[in-house]
């Protein structure tokens, strides 16, 4: 792993980072057009790769929440060109570590002694990096442990980052700056939640207990006595990261088994717990030798309100999708059609959402679904492109949809992307809890 060069913390420094990235991207475009003058064959792929590289460099230096935002972007595989996705996914488990002395300092702050005194063995060099922390190997009473340590100052910098990103976000989504507040707040709260390791510990223990009967799914054991709001200690789990696992070209049977465990995990959380692990990126899952999925991060949990839960699953119901009156009522309830919309506009969106949901809820409409088919993810991406090209949509500057959608969409989109990269065929139980669990 590369060693950390700097953690810019002040707002001004972060701002100047953004500006330098902006300048670099500008330069990349310039280079691109100069090259293109001489070589008309040159594709935009190279340009995108250059841009992604520079953005990634900047982000990985900035650490913390911006990196998290990059991860969120990388979740929506369909929305971004492939090069961006590749680079940003890298962000998911490769960031420079903090120094050994700082790790020791954080331990002294939390436990009053050095890590070597808390555990029997402690490796001062980080094994993995997470976006707001890093993972160390330790041993206590003959058991191998994973100790996750949070970077200092993360919570503070999130707030200033969000303020910085906000105007960009409004521009990016082409909406009015003021209307975006409740969405930004949703993201900010979730990000701040993630900096609270005590909360993560509690969520991890709770969800792993509730989901312990799901087939081929496993969780690490948590050790509250060695955990604080800056440190989480859990059992060390052997296995391969999901992405590396896919690269080993596993059998179709194994692919299906893993995909099925993930699917059941999400459906069960949705219906039985009404809260879910909202961070389904490959870095959060490890595959054991026996083909079990191990879930290793519970920082981001989305709680569904009763109302949102009911409305959301109504949208997924084909019967309601075909009953325009009931469908429109649900859309209004979820703020996807706004009270200020004219009848024309309401009809336009009703039709648009119906078409979109027919695609996105397709796996729920049948008993079995084959995610190995690229066509499905492609059709989702193409429909996104089509919506983006509509004049009515481009001109509309009212942000739509309940703020709960941000993390719920991200979760489902992330899940679909995972399943599609695993190339698996699964039993969907029409989106309900499988029989053996109910």
């Amino acid at each position: 792993m590369k060693t950390l060069k700097s953690i810019p913390t002040g707002k001004v420094e972060r701002a100047s980072k953004f500006i330098s990235t902006g300048a670099k991207i500008g330069a990349n475009y310039l280079k691109h057009y100069v090259k293109k003058t001489f070589d008309p064959e040159m594709s935009k792929d190279e340009l995108n790769a250059n841009n992604a590289e520079d953005i990634y460099e900047t982000l990985s230096e900035m650490k913390g929440s911006v990196l998290k935002l990059a991860q969120m972007l990388s979740m929506d595989q369909g929305m971004l060109p492939k090069e961006y996705v590749d680079k940003f996914s890298l962000a998911q488990f490769q960031t420079p570590p903090i120094s050994g002395p700082l790790v020791a300092k954080i331990f002294r702050n939390s436990f009053g002694k050095n890590p070597e005194a808390v555990f029997d063995k402690f490796n001062i060099h980080a094994k993995h990096a997470a976006s707001i922390g890093q993972v160390h190997e330790a041993e206590k009473d003959g058991k191998k442990l994973a100790v996750k340590i949070q970077y200092p100052g993360v919570a503070d910098s999130i707030k200033s980052d969000i303020k910085l990103v906000k105007p960009f976000a409004a521009k990016l989504m082409n909406v009015k700056n003021n209307d975006i507040n409740r969405y930004v707040e949703e993201v900010e709260n979730k990000l701040l939640d993630e900096t609270n390791y005590s909360l993560e510990l509690q969520q991890g223990i709770e969800i792993s207990e509730a989901c312990k009967n799901i087939k081929n799914l496993r969780f690490p054991r948590y050790f509250s006595e060695y955990s604080t709001h800056k440190i989480i200690t859990m059992s060390w789990e052997e296995g391969t990261h999901l992405r590396e696992f896919i690269n080993t070209n596993p059998s179709q049977e194994l692919r299906n088994q893993i995909g099925q465990a993930l699917w059941d995990f999400y459906m069960y959380q949705n219906h039985a717990l009404k809260k879910m692990h909202a961070d389904p990126h490959p870095g959060n899952f490890i595959i054991s030798d026996t083909g079990q999925v191990i879930v290793i991060d519970f920082g981001c949990i989305k709680q569904l309100s009763e109302k949102f839960y009911l409305d959301f699953w109504k949208l997924a119901d084909p019967a309601i999708q075909h009953d325009k009156e009931a469908f429109d009522i649900t859309l209004r309830s979820l703020e996807m059609i706004l009270p200020s919309d004219s009848q024309n506009k309401a009809d336009f969106y009703s039709k648009l959402y119906k078409e979109m949901l027919a695609i996105t809820t397709k796996p729920f409409a049948q008993e079995e679904f084959d995610f190995s088919d690229d066509k499905y993810m492609k059709s989702m991406y193409e429909y996104g492109e089509y919506i983006g090209s509509l004049e009515e949509f481009k001109k509309d500057i009212e942000p739509r949809g309940s703020n709960h959608f941000i993390y719920v969409n991200r979760t489902f989109y992330g899940l679909y992307s995972l399943l599609s990269s695993i190339k698996c065929k699964i039993k969907t139980h029409k989106g309900q809890i499988p029989n053996y669990l109910s």
């Binding site: 060693t3 950390l4 060069k5 700097s6 953690i7 810019p8 913390t9 903090i98 120094s99 050994g100 002395p101 700082l102 020791a104 300092k105 954080i106 002294r108 702050n109 050095n114 070597e116 001062i124 970077y151 200092p152 100052g153 503070d156």
Partner: protein, 207 residues
């Protein structure tokens, strides 16, 4: 009574009264000794403060050498753990040290006279780790320039102190981040080719 007792009393006085003793007479009275007797320990309160600051460095170094990991650290890590330990020391009586520093907020512009001994000790420590770093190739040997490294690092020390003085984050974790950043920057600069290219270019242009 020994010099160390007098320093302890000086800390207690300042913490309790919320300000430093205004002169030697007041402090001697507090110690219940004559002013003349006080001068047998220290010629002035300012010299006492010099010793006090020097103690913070020596205690820190003693703590570091007592840690079994310390010897195996690279020079960069040694400097990092020096700062972290130093700040931990100061945090024991943050309000006292803040009171002492109140008059010297412009630490970086004019180095206060009571930091003289601190500087000597710090520079000796810095030279020790820098010599080691040169022998292991952790930093580059640069004739003329590298003899100034320790003095430059003392400026970094003052920067850390000033940052800590102004830090109002919980647990002063922003100071931790500042230390990490400052030390990494200095070691990267002492090792990078960028600096050499800059000097090379400058020499070429001046010729």
């Amino acid at each position: 009574m020994e010099n160390s007792d007098i320093i302890k009393k000086y800390i207690v006085y300042t913490l309790d009264k919320g300000e430093k003793p205004a002169n030697e007479y007041i402090f001697a009275k507090y110690l219940k000794i004559s002013e003349a007797k006080f001068y047998t320990f220290y010629p002035s309160l300012s010299v006492l403060e010099q010793d006090l600051w020097q103690n913070t460095i020596t205690t820190t170094l003693a703590r570091l050498h007592a840690d079994s990991n310390y010897t195996n650290y690279s020079s960069r890590e040694k400097l990092l753990s020096f700062y972290y330990t130093y700040i931990e020391e100061l945090n024991e009586h943050r309000s006292f040290y803040k009171e002492l520093l109140r008059a010297d907020v412009n630490l970086l512009k004019n180095i206060p006279s009571h930091f003289k001994k601190t500087k000597t000790h710090y520079v000796a420590f810095a030279n020790e780790i820098l010599t080691k770093a040169k022998s292991t190739g952790e930093i580059k040997t640069r004739t003329f320039i590298d003899s100034k490294y320790a003095d430059l690092l003392f400026v970094q020390f003052l920067f850390v102190l000033r940052y800590w003085y102004k830090d109002d984050s919980i647990g002063f974790e922003q100071t931790d981040a500042a230390i990490e950043k400052a030390v990494n920057l200095s070691f990267d600069l002492m090792n990078s080719n960028v600096i050499d290219s800059v000097f090379d270019f400058a020499k070429f242009m001046i010729r």
